[in-house]
């Protein structure tokens, strides 16, 4: 017996630990392969992200800069104030057509004073350099400062989009061969003015805060007013979708009994989350505009449509976060004699709040970027709107929204608008990024561990 233990060959089922057998090798090889696939997938994702971001930034960053010309304009009393009494009513009678020649003369004078040689004999020949919006700007300033009539005031006037495009490389001497708005002489003039320092590129706040402009004034168009449109829509969504969604979720999760009817509702909510947004758009058109006669193109209608769209998102995430609250907390509250509602509102809801807020912000971010339903309720197109002058006009007067404005710019013919569409996308992405960061911060801040 004892001999056997020392001399007998014990059957060795396993080989040496230092040499791996064929099966182990295969297993390790397949794990290694899987890791490589995973890394490749992440790498591909990152690559596309980098391509996307660099495309957006390189195409859109130009929209944040604009070309301006410093033009001294003589505010001629002979045209602006024929009666000489500086009466605001009389001053207002002079339309932008009265100001245009003054600006053109100012530019002509500027060119002369700088000693730039040019073939253009007439001040009007140089109008291709100046944005059509210049007259309105000078007029607004003059009406606000009537005492300066008779002086020469230096204005920073937008250059036309062709001149701007020339500085940004979009417009070249070859590309303007067929262009009737500008010719090579204007470009020579642009170069000369730039050397003299009167023409320069600088940061364009108008793009962020201004309103949309007509097809022919790309240099003037801004996202500000449609940003406000989006803001008012988000207000509607927040104040309707959050309370309705949370109330529905609390009822379904905490109070409703489990039966066929609640199952049916649950299935339908999940399905609603997957309904294409354009369907909500046509529903909004039928229900809110054709039936309820709310104004077309108004943020209130857009907000209502987006509320319908956001509700399932909020309900699903709220229910998930209510479910995640441990049942022991409900037991504890009921055990000391809290009613069901007290248990929910004192204990369960506060604990679910971070999840609810996160879901709501994600839902809002989704709604902020939604374009398709807005097509159907008339929030896309050139909507010549200035800033709303109050809450009512903010909700009720026609407006656009950020993504709709971007779509509108992208389909316009002037290539200058193409740049603005990309610029708009940068602003939209910044908003979405901010909202997602807020969601993450809130979740981190209020998350409880036990």
């Amino acid at each position: 017996m004892t001999d056997a233990t020392f001399t007998g060959e014990s059957p060795k089922r396993h080989g040496s630990l230092t040499a791996s057998d064929a099966r182990t090798k295969r297993r390790n090889a397949s794990e290694k392969r899987f890791r490589i696939y995973g890394l490749a997938a992440i790498g591909a994702g990152l690559f596309f992200l980098v391509v996307l971001l660099s495309a957006i930034i390189s195409n859109g960053i130009g929209a944040f800069q604009q070309t301006f010309i410093q033009v001294p304009v003589y505010l001629d009393p002979a045209t602006l104030d024929k009666n000489g009494n500086r009466d605001p009513a009389d001053l207002a009678k002079v339309s932008t057509f009265g100001y245009t020649p003054l600006i053109q003369t100012g530019l002509y004078q500027l060119v002369r004073d700088a000693g730039i040689e040019t073939d253009y004999e007439d001040a009007g020949d140089m109008k291709a350099l100046i944005s059509a919006s210049a007259a309105a700007k000078v007029r607004d300033w003059t009406l606000a400062h009537p005492d300066r009539i008779g002086d020469t005031v230096e204005f920073e006037i937008l250059a036309s989009s062709r001149v701007d495009g020339y500085l940004k490389g979009r417009v070249t001497r070859e590309s303007i061969a067929e262009d009737r708005n500008i010719d090579a002489g204007h470009l020579d003039l642009t170069d000369a003015l730039r050397e003299s320092g009167a023409l320069h590129k600088s940061f364009n706040a108008e793009f962020i805060f201004g309103s949309d402009a007509s097809e022919s004034r790309a240099e003037q168009a801004g996202l500000g007013v449609s940003m406000l449109g989006s803001f008012f829509m988000m207000l509607v969504v927040l104040f309707l979708a959050l309370p309705i969604g949370v109330a529905a979720s609390i009822y379904l999760e905490e109070f409703a009994s489990q039966n066929k009817f609640t199952d049916f509702i649950e299935v339908n909510i999940s399905n609603l989350a997957a309904v294409p947004s354009i369907v909500f758009g046509i529903l909004g058109l039928a229900a809110f505009i054709q039936f309820a006669h709310l104004p077309q193109s108004a943020p209130i209608v857009g907000g209502l449509v987006l509320t319908l769209m956001t509700l399932p998102t909020i309900i699903i995430s709220t229910r998930a976060s209510l479910k995640a609250v441990p049942p022991s907390i409900r037991d504890a509250a009921l055990g000391v004699g809290a009613s069901k509602m007290q248990a929910v509102f004192h204990h369960v809801l506060p604990l679910a709040m971070p999840g609810i807020l996160t879901g709501t912000i994600i839902g809002l971010a989704q709604a902020l970027g939604e374009t398709a339903p807005l097509l159907l309720i008339g929030m896309v197109g050139y909507i010549a709107t200035n800033y709303p002058d109050g809450l009512v006009s903010g909700f009720m007067s026609p407006n656009s929204a950020m993504p709709a404005q971007i779509y509108e710019w992208a389909k316009r013919a002037d290539p200058a608008y193409y740049e603005r569409a990309w610029g708009g996308i940068i602003i939209l992405l910044v908003f979405l990024l901010i909202m997602n960061v807020i969601a993450i911060v809130l979740r981190r801040k209020f998350e409880r561990r036990w």
């Binding site: 489990q258 504890a332 004699g337 409880r448």
Partner: protein, 276 residues
């Protein structure tokens, strides 16, 4: 090891009785022919039991025997389960607690409950204890509430450990302290009956000993019903023991009698470790 031997002497479970016999206390809860169904499952069958005032009553039995289910019927915690249906009569001080006019909220203020896992609210120690008195309006002002909280924490035998940090979160305490905090929370609403569902199963032996000592003290003021898996614990803390098996109440009697001289062979098999 045959049955007679085991029946004659079970030294392992021969508990030191703190009181020789149960005082002649009056009935607090009496249950008659209670049936509980979960959907189609018949979980509790024909249980009739009288629970005495100022007494600790232990429910023992193998897992799934229905002891927790029955305990939860006593303060209608089973109401929260849709499929659960209770038949028969359960009376507290002679009043049917399943009567249509009974509001379970009022019942639960009278019949407090401590759960298996310590479940303090993720709030301060003070707010944990003050929550019950607040929602029942037991205190007219802050001073009274402070007094109630202190009294409850003293009864929970945790006052000395937490009196300097009433504002720190209850979830930051150790497991045993959390469970005593939960007991303090349960007694803060001045209940008459205290139900405990395996209150020590998540605790270490030292914390268990502290909670057991506390249960013995609570007996002076309350009727305590405790569900436990530990037969030693049942022997240590209770005066009356009920043995449940497969939804039936097999045997109910003085703890000393159940552990030394069980009548039913199933009880004997269970306490000697042959079924369970």
């Amino acid at each position: 090891m045959d049955a007679t031997n085991a029946k004659g002497n079970v030294p392992m479970y021969d508990a030191p009785m703190r009181k020789a016999a149960v005082d002649v206390n009056e009935n607090k809860i009496s249950a008659k022919d209670v049936q509980v169904y979960y959907g189609e499952t018949h979980a509790i069958k024909d249980v009739s039991v009288d629970i005495l005032d100022k007494t600790v009553t232990a429910f023992i039995g193998p897992s799934g025997c229905g002891k927790s289910t029955f305990l939860r019927c006593l303060n209608r915690m089973n109401d929260t389960i849709d499929s659960c249906r209770v038949e028969g009569l359960i009376a507290l001080d002679g009043e049917d607690i399943y009567d249509k006019r009974v509001d379970p909220v009022q019942l639960r203020a009278k019949v407090g409950m401590v759960f298996q896992k310590p479940n303090p609210f993720p709030k301060s120690i003070y707010d944990n204890v003050a929550y019950g008195p607040r929602i029942h309006g037991l205190a007219r002002n802050k001073a009274e509430l402070d007094e109630i909280v202190e009294r409850a924490l003293r009864r929970g035998a945790i006052w000395n450990e937490v009196k300097d940090r009433l504002d720190s979160p209850g979830t930051g305490l150790s497991g045993g302290q959390q469970q005593r905090l939960c007991i303090a929370r349960a007694v803060a609403t001045e209940p008459e009956v205290l139900l405990m569902d395996e209150p020590c199963s998540a605790l270490d032996p030292i914390a268990t000993a502290q909670v057991e000592e506390l249960i013995d003290e609570l007996r002076e003021n309350y009727s305590v019903v405790i569900v436990t898996h530990s037969m030693q614990q049942a022997a240590r803390v209770s005066q009356k023991t009920a043995f449940f098996h497969l939804g039936n109440l097999v045997e109910y009697g003085e703890t000393s009698q159940i552990f030394t001289n069980p009548v039913d062979p199933r009880t004997e098999s269970y306490i000697t470790g042959r079924i369970g």
